[in-house]
């Protein structure tokens, strides 16, 4: 900044007599600003939350009680972490989201990642599968295996987990509308491996509410979709007790363009809706709440992300204990996975993304995440290449083993800034939750387009800030270069789609069509009578009914969802 001749030194300043912030402002800072002004007229987070030049004990106020606001790790309200020992005992799970092409190809990537030190699996399905359609559906043309792995039936699922012992590896499946079907397939694979389902560890995203709000992968309308979810929760309470039934997600809400506070508020509001749904379905809150989990985004603004995660833990603990009267500490603990923000990564100068991801991963770790996916540097170009995903995994490993940040719990706790911002985000998020409550809850708010409009506004505002260079993105609107950097991107083999279709056709021929028909009938009957859908779904998948057949069977009973688009 300054390469001019050295300034004459002023006499050492006496510390402000009363030690107040105001004295410092008046006596020290403002005079200094007259010589060197600030770089900008305003400083705000990536979400446009204004940030002060300095935070002191005065910002916390005399009423700020660390016992009440923070507590200790592993104790209510868990602000500093949900476990008493955190990373000193166990590092977060390194869980890279993976999936493309055929089940065999993805299986190979799974083995590769596990061999490189990844500690849990995370499955990315292709769009047809995500939407509950088969590879031969008319809307699936061109989409098979492109955005994730194509799974049409249990046969594909068996190939996907070939050589992977489900009693020793935990799996997260990013699937929502047809989540119950894929879950049934996973259980069936475990059965074939001889693994008792009560030993299974894993997570199902299964968060349909955020689909209507942000990710937009739906089949049925909200209310029947909630019924499928509560059926699954009830089934897991009895049969798969170690399974995380929902990964209540803020990630996608943020990717759609929300602010950090909106991500926090809308996600916790969704959580509230799921707890209400479970209770309405007759379940005791402590029977299922411990297996609700969360999934957050980690975006560029380092402190905003750390504070968001700390606020989330404290808020959820209070919601569960005070609002829902949950008695088990496990019901109060917000356990979560984090993914670094895909939307923050650039196509230009892609290696810069390695730096962004490192900062974002660090924020997640300092925010106390239980599990982490780091994006690959080619995120804005294609699905991750082997090379790019390895760098992303190494980023986590270096953070874990070389940076030292895991040596103590919640190292940022007690920072005036961090505690002020945590409190501020909690207050702002609570306002949103109250508004949603006032509308009659999340489903009513969704039907009114409330969250969708808030997100679209925030996205548009941010785009204007970027286009107008008020927010810098290095390589995109600042420090641009004539691109000479070319990276090798993953190409999906065009043979994937025809081979998948051929396999599906063969499956339909070889399986017992009559048995499939019977299981589909039973499924429809259960849907109509309110019987738990999971056991009948299990029968259907064991008979090699396809994802599309099962999802389609429920349409006459549940209906389909159409969005009223709001620009």
């Amino acid at each position: 900044m300054s390469d001019s001749k050295p300034q004459p030194t002023s006499p050492a300043k006496e510390p402000s007599k009363s030690g107040s912030r105001e004295e410092w402002e008046r006596g020290t800072r403002r005079p200094a600003l007259k010589r060197v002004g600030e770089r900008d007229t305003e400083f705000s987070t990536v979400s446009s939350l204004p940030i002060e030049p300095l935070y002191t004990w005065e910002d916390l106020g005399s009423g700020w009680n660390p016992g009440e606001r923070l507590g200790f790790p592993g104790e209510y309200p868990y602000t500093r972490g949900i476990h008493p020992s955190m990373y000193r005992s166990r590092l977060w799970t390194m869980r890279q989201f993976a999936g493309f092409g055929s089940a065999e190809q993805t299986n190979q990537r799974f083995h590769y990642l596990l061999g490189q030190g990844q500690t849990g699996l995370s499955v990315a399905f292709d769009l047809p599968t995500l939407m509950g359609r088969d590879s031969d559906d008319s809307m699936s043309r061109g989409e098979v295996g492109r955005e994730g792995v194509a799974i049409d039936s249990l046969a594909d699922m068996e190939r996907l987990f070939e050589g992977i012992p489900l009693d020793r590896v935990s799996t997260s499946m990013t699937i929502n509308a047809p989540a119950a079907v894929l879950f049934a397939m996973y259980l069936a694979v475990a059965e074939k491996q001889g693994v008792p389902i009560e030993k299974l560890n894993g997570t199902l995203q299964n968060d349909i509410l955020k689909e209507y709000i942000a990710q937009k992968e739906w089949i049925y309308p909200p209310r029947p979709s909630l019924r499928i979810i509560t059926d699954l929760i009830a089934y897991c309470v009895d049969h798969v007790p170690k399974w995380n039934t929902i990964s209540i997600s803020g990630y996608h809400i943020r990717e759609a363009g929300s602010t950090a506070v909106q991500e926090l508020a809308f996600t916790l509001a969704d959580g509230i809706a799921y707890v209400q749904a479970g209770i309405a379905a007759g379940l005791d809150v402590d029977s299922f709440a411990p297996r609700l989990s969360f999934f957050w985004n980690s975006h560029n603004d380092f402190f905003e992300e750390v504070c968001k995660l700390r606020a989330a833990r404290r808020m959820w603990a209070q919601i569960m204990r005070e609002r829902f009267g949950a008695k088990q500490p496990q019901s109060w603990m917000l356990r979560f996975h984090t993914q670094t923000a895909g939307c923050s990564l650039t196509a230009q100068q892609p290696h810069n993304n390695i730096v962004r991801v490192t900062i974002q991963a660090l924020a997640a770790v300092l925010g106390g995440t239980q599990s982490l996916h780091t994006d690959s540097f080619d995120e804005a170009l294609a699905l991750p290449s082997d090379h790019a995903v390895t760098v992303a995994l190494r980023t986590q490993q270096i953070l874990a083993e070389e940076s030292g940040v895991t040596h103590t719990i919640d190292p940022l706790g007690g920072s005036y800034f961090v505690e002020s911002l945590t409190d501020r985000m909690e207050r702002d998020a609570h306002s949103y939750i109250e508004r949603i409550d006032g509308m009659g809850g999340v489903v009513a708010a969704i039907e009114n387009g409330f969250q969708q409009k808030e997100i679209a506004e925030a996205a548009y505002r941010y785009q204007a800030q970027v286009d107008g260079k008020a927010k810098a993105i290095i390589g995109v609107n600042k420090h641009e270069m004539d691109e000479s950097v070319r990276v090798e991107v993953l190409k999906i083999d065009p043979g994937v789609e025809p081979r998948q279709l051929a396999g599906l056709a063969q499956l339909r021929q070889e399986r017992d069509g009559e048995r499939v028909g019977q299981t589909i009938q039973a499924l429809r009957h259960a849907a109509e009578t309110g019987e738990n859908l999971i056991p009948v779904m299990l029968d259907a998948v064991r008979a090699y009914a396809t994802v599309g057949e099962i999802c389609e069977a429920l349409v006459p009973v549940f209906g389909t969802y159409r969005e009223v688009s709001v620009i």
Binding site: L130, S138, E143, A347, L383, A459, V466, D467, E563, S565
Partner: protein, 146 residues
């Protein structure tokens, strides 16, 4: 589902009409909605198709709405099938003069192929709304009576 935009007191016939479409199963609509809104705010008549449109639905809507161009947003990786399919359907229906452009997650190496198939322009991540608006102003005329 159509959402119309615009509202400035200019004769409707003079405004360039644009279809902004999400074709295929891709539900990522952040970019499409921003582009639609920016175009609307810039004075264009915008028809936003909403999600999960088949290529047939996009083409039918475009023809019904008498648009001056079709823009497609694709982040799913299915662009090499969907763009040419829309162009092929326009040709089949005798509406091949409707230009097609778009954007999304499209590797540089795929762009020449798409242009060869008839796509006029592809806007990849990093393009500003101003650039897109400017390009449309310079490249998309109001078509005469069909």
């Amino acid at each position: 589902m159509n959402v119309r935009g615009g509202g400035t007191p200019v004769s409707q016939e003079n405004k360039v009409r644009l279809l902004v479409g999400k074709v295929g199963l891709d539900g990522h609509d952040r970019g499409a909605k921003i582009v639609a809104r920016a175009l609307r705010d810039a004075g264009f008549e915008v028809i936003y198709t909403g999600l999960h449109q088949s290529p047939e639905m996009v083409v039918d809507t475009a023809i019904q709405e008498d648009v001056d161009a079709i823009s497609l947003s694709i982040l799913s990786g299915a662009h090499n099938y969907l763009f040419p399919k829309v162009i092929e359907l326009l040709r089949e229906k005798g509406s091949q003069e409707i230009p097609v452009f778009g954007g999304g997650i499209i590797p540089e190496t795929d762009i020449p192929g798409l242009k060869k198939a008839g796509v006029l322009e592809i806007f990849t991540p990093g393009a500003t709304t101003a650039e897109i608006v400017e390009w449309v102003r310079s490249n998309i005329p109001r078509r005469g009576a069909a």
